[in-house]
Symmetry: C2
Subunit: 274 residues, 2 copies
């Protein structure tokens, strides 16, 4: 008799059921609930999963852009995936996540055939004590998805002030991040962790404001075998904003392996109201 085990909550959250004609059915997971609707990272991972499970995929994901068009309600959704064009080296996908026939998210994903050619790491990994020397943050109850990650701030932990900081703080944070419970890293896992940084405007101001990610781009530098060697991580994440202006701000991120490989880089732009 084989022992039956429940899937990891992450795998349950990104699971898709084929509906035919490149359409899939999925559903939001309460484990990855955000303030309203799902955590953006789990949406990115679910969209990427539609490409990962498609037998027509060629190569590893290289680039993903997710546009958050409208609020995703708790419950079922559909994803449509289309190959825009496939070449010898790259394959371009377009995806849309819909609820009640309305587009809630779109995504473009580029896969690429990767090989052992010239390699060069230019960026340097930030210095950080090993993860077991850093305490995990307690999860604020309002954000359920924070429970689904083991986040250990090495520098720049978010702090909430009773009133806004008298002087704005640096928006930079450095933290160890891993799935909780542990889960072997893969492309969807990294796609989700790429969004695990709290909004930099909150970090800088010390207060919560109405906001939402508008567009999220992640570039994967690590190949599938390289990610497989990472086990369940953790990875070291770095995030910082460059400008917050006229209702929108950007933030830029890096994900590093414990042994100093740059696994992914990316950026997002988010809306804020005040």
């Amino acid at each position: 008799m084989t022992e039956s085990r429940a899937p990891h909550p992450f795998d349950a959250a990104i699971a898709l059921h084929p509906l035919g004609e490149c359409r899939f059915a999925g559903a939001t997971s309460p484990v990855y609930a955000n303030m309203a609707g799902p955590y953006g990272g789990i949406t990115a991972a679910t969209l990427l999963n539609a490409v990962m499970i498609d037998p027509r995929r060629r190569g590893d994901p290289v680039a993903q852009t997710v546009n958050f068009c409208g609020a995703i309600a708790d419950g079922p959704f559909e994803i449509a995936a289309r190959i825009e064009r496939g070449g010898k080296y790259t394959q371009h996908w377009s995806l849309a996540l819909t609820q009640d026939g309305q587009t809630r998210s779109t995504a473009s994903i580029v896969c690429g055939v990767r090989g052992a050619v010239f390699t060069h790491a230019e960026a340097g990994m930030p210095e950080a004590p090993p993860p077991d020397r850093v305490a995990p943050i307690p999860a604020p109850a309002a954000l359920r998805w924070l429970d689904a990650y083991d986040l250990r701030y090495v520098g720049g932990p978010p702090e909430f002030a009773a009133s806004p900081f008298e002087k704005l703080r640096d928006s930079r944070s450095v933290l160890w991040a891993a799935d909780r419970p542990a889960r072997p890293l893969d492309f969807p896992g990294l796609a989700s962790i790429a969004d695990c940084f709290l909004p930099r405007i909150v970090k800088a101001r010390g207060l919560m404001v109405p906001l939402g990610t508008v567009s999220l781009t992640t570039y994967f530098h690590a190949t599938a075998p390289e990610i497989a060697r990472l086990g369940s991580g953790p990875v070291l994440g770095v995030a910082q904003a460059k400008r917050m202006h006229a209702n929108f701000f950007d933030q830029h991120m890096e994900l590093w392996s414990r042994d100093g490989q740059l696994l992914a880089t990316g950026a997002q732009v988010a809306w804020y109201r005040e």
Copy 2:
């Protein structure tokens, strides 16, 4: 009698003629020719122009991702533009550029309503001598589009070695960039300049290798009135790669106004063969 003047080559290059049903006709311009097909920046600007001239547009462009799916041949093309979703604060567009019915580029563009709220500049502008104290680079004949820009390297000019550099160089470049001849800056102008940095792998290695941009993302921080005040620039551009690995590399960029405002940030990932 009014004097008739030929449009600026940039405006001629991004010009689109409505075909009805959110479709437009355009054509490549020899002024912006790259190694093969058009310079990526002019493709980004042309796709953005389809949104700029659409009377349904609400707000300023905030984010643009362009995916270069296949080579664009010299000659005519069509662009289809679709509003995926429009809300109170943001409007999401999807676009496709086709030739002979085949998708050659796709793009997502987010527009946003911008207002006078909290503003904060975190990144600092690199130090640079004024543009009139820096000599423009001569344009290599192989890349026609370089003639369409006045590029003045403040630091990190690209250098080509007879053989690869013995030691890899820093991929960072800082340069003043403006249209040549001068043209008042606007969103399409910035979208194009955002791609004016030569591939960072060439800068680091000192040799040309087969390569091509796969995906390009630009976030616009400046609002329309702020851009209008810039005149014809120049803007200060900064670009640097973080990792070149397994056939793909990233590069990250900033565009600054002369008076120290961060106008745009962005990144791209490009394929390389060897």
